[in-house]
């Protein structure tokens, strides 16, 4: 027993014989805000999909709350961990509210249920992500950033113990990037939700994450405290960029600035 939310043991994955995730060992603490960073193609999304059983890992490789992921039914897994993919299919004209309500699916029995409570949870999720005003709108007719917030609302309505997000801020304006990450952090702190987020912005990683995974070419280059993980040497090695770590005058936390090539 490790007491961690997610445990990976000697985990590998290859697509058509091409190794994409290579013998990874990792423990993600309960209640942590764990970031995953790394260059394009490093295997971040693949790693997330393995943790979500969207790809099928071998036995005894991926554990969610110390239980082999293969021993979870999808429904049980969906009660524990929710997913914010980068996008979903929007062609079918469901409304924002209908999409967010789908987050309640794993909690619904075939006949039983508490519709009033479900509605309350769905409304709260829409309020928190500021999509309430859009609730009657067709998800095919909202902006990319709005859609991303709707998907996050759906994941929150799922009331998970672990929230897995794939570049949750990629379509958001600066204001909403900060708001969404702050919301996720406060949920993590208040409810003890474990957050696993693929991020591209190192300053977000430094600001929000309690621990950070730096991936490169399918392996973990560094793992630990974000300030210890992000160093100018590693940035040079992995991204080929010269950077400097400064102090953010607003927060007192480190932030990274880089040369332009």
């Amino acid at each position: 027993m490790t007491g961690s939310a997610v445990t990976l043991k000697d985990l590998s994955w290859s697509y058509n014989g091409r190794s994409v995730v290579n013998t990874i060992d990792l423990k993600i603490e309960k209640g942590s805000f764990t970031g995953i960073v790394g260059p394009n193609g490093a295997g971040k999304t693949t790693l997330l999909k393995l943790i979500l059983k969207l790809l099928s890992p071998e036995k005894d490789r991926v554990f969610i709350f110390d239980r082999d992921i293969n021993n979870y039914s999808r429904k049980d897994l969906a009660k524990k961990i929710s997913y914010v993919p980068q996008t979903i299919n929007v062609d079918f004209g469901f409304s924002v509210q209908q999409i967010v309500s789908m987050g309640r699916n794993p909690h619904l029995g075939l006949f039983s249920g508490d519709p009033a409570r479900d509605t309350e949870i769905v409304n709260k999720a829409m309020r928190e992500t500021e999509v309430e005003a859009l609730k009657k709108k067709d998800i095919g007719s909202i902006s990319g950033g709005e859609l991303q917030r709707v998907i996050i609302a759906r994941a929150l309505a799922q009331e998970p113990d672990i929230l897995a997000l794939d570049e949750p801020t990629s379509h958001l304006d600066l204001n909403h990037q900060i708001r969404i990450l702050s919301l996720v952090r406060s949920l993590s702190k208040k409810k003890g939700i474990t957050v696993i987020a693929v991020l591209h912005d190192f300053n977000h990683a430094l600001e929000y994450c309690t621990s950070l995974v730096l991936m490169n070419k399918g392996t973990i280059e560094a793992f630990g405290n974000p300030e210890a993980v992000i160093t100018p040497e590693r940035m040079k090695k992995i991204y080929g960029l010269t950077t400097s770590i400064e102090k953010n005058p607003f927060t007192g936390k480190p932030y990274i600035i880089n040369e332009y090539v």
Partner: protein, 340 residues
């Protein structure tokens, strides 16, 4: 079934329209049966006001028109329901019940059956009906397996197209080699309720209605599956097995419909498409609403098919296409205008 308020009203209206269509269809036809006699025959316990004027009217209504009406309604229901489900599974509002090659599989099997002069009957169903059912159903299974067990809807779609072309070519070959059967085969592929019997109703109705109820039961999952495989899996849906369930049941329904009526186009495409536009994409309401509308649409089409050029009959598939195709083109234009 899950209706929001206005959908409930639409559903009730549609049921009323369906009932009205049934009475109309029972009354019109090449033999002139007065409406009062139709009512007396349909509701004998009401006929205090004297007997039916001709006994032959009874035969016309009860043995000829009613089974045909029921079969048209049931078939239309089946095609519309499976169209709605196929559109959901393929995440494509232009999908139709024949997308997995059911129509070409059934047509090929029927062509073979006619060329070989098959005669056997099982459960009162003729060899041609049975060939159509098996041909359609087995073809979808083959498509499912060569697509790799339905891992992705894209490979399913491509396999369906490939097998469809292949079987159509084989059917042409069978026709070419058996020219004396060409007329029968072509006539069958155009669809008709001309040979309706109560037996056909009794065999196809349970298949289609039980199938539709099963589909409705899990329609909530279909809503979620529309958002994408990974998205649905992360919401707790066993996507692959659920997809197999939907495909199996709707294929069963479609094959059942094809076996009693031939290949009737556009019902399964247009009806769910229109209902989705008018009443929303939620399959919990879309399936029952499409079901009733499909019944109405096909019954009206068949009534036109047997009355427009009476006493000659037009194959009903021609009518549905003549009405369906322009409508479909209209939808395409509408779509194009929506995309700037």
């Amino acid at each position: 079934m899950f209706f929001r308020k206005h959908q409930k009203i639409v559903f009730i209206l549609l049921l009323i329209v369906l009932a009205a269509a049934v009475f109309t269809a029972a009354t019109v036809g090449s033999a002139k049966v007065p409406f009062s006699d139709v009512m007396k025959i349909l509701f004998p316990f009401l006929s205090k006001g004297g007997a039916v004027s001709h006994n032959v009217f009874k035969v016309i209504i009860l043995k000829i028109r009613l089974p045909r009406i029921f079969l048209a309604v049931i078939t239309g229901m089946g095609l519309a329901v499976s169209g709605a489900v196929f559109q959901g599974i393929f995440r494509n509002p232009m999908a139709n019940p024949y997308i997995l090659g059911i129509s070409s599989g059934a047509a090929f099997a029927v062509a073979m059956g006619m060329a070989l002069g098959l005669q056997a009957t099982v459960l009162g169903m003729g060899a041609i009906s049975i060939s159509a059912f098996l041909g359609g159903f087995l073809t979808s299974l083959v498509v499912y397996f060569i697509s790799g067990g339905g891992k992705s809807v894209f490979s399913l779609l491509l396999s369906g197209i490939a097998i469809g072309f292949f079987l159509s070519a084989l059917m042409s070959l069978v026709m070419y080699l058996n020219r004396n059967q060409i007329e029968n085969i072509v006539y069958w592929t155009m669809g008709s309720f001309n040979a309706s019997t109560w037996t056909k109703v009794a065999v196809s109705a349970p298949v289609i209605i039980i199938g539709a109820v099963l589909l409705m039961f899990f329609s909530k999952d279909l809503n979620i599956m529309v958002t994408g495989d990974d998205s649905a899996k992360s919401l707790g849906i066993e996507v692959q097995s659920r997809r197999l369930f939907f495909l199996l049941v709707s294929t069963f329904i479609t094959a059942g419909a094809v076996s009693v009526s031939g290949v009737i186009g556009f019902v399964g495409l247009v009806v769910p498409h229109v209902l989705r536009i008018l009443t929303g994409p939620d399959h919990r309401s879309l399936i029952p609403l499409s079901m009733v509308s499909g019944g109405i649409f096909l019954l009206l089409s068949d009534t036109l098919a047997r009355t427009l050029l009476s006493p000659t009959e037009i194959p009903v598939g021609i009518i549905t296409s003549i009405f369906g195709a322009p409508f479909f083109i209209y939808l395409l234009f509408r779509k194009r205008n929506l995309i700037p």
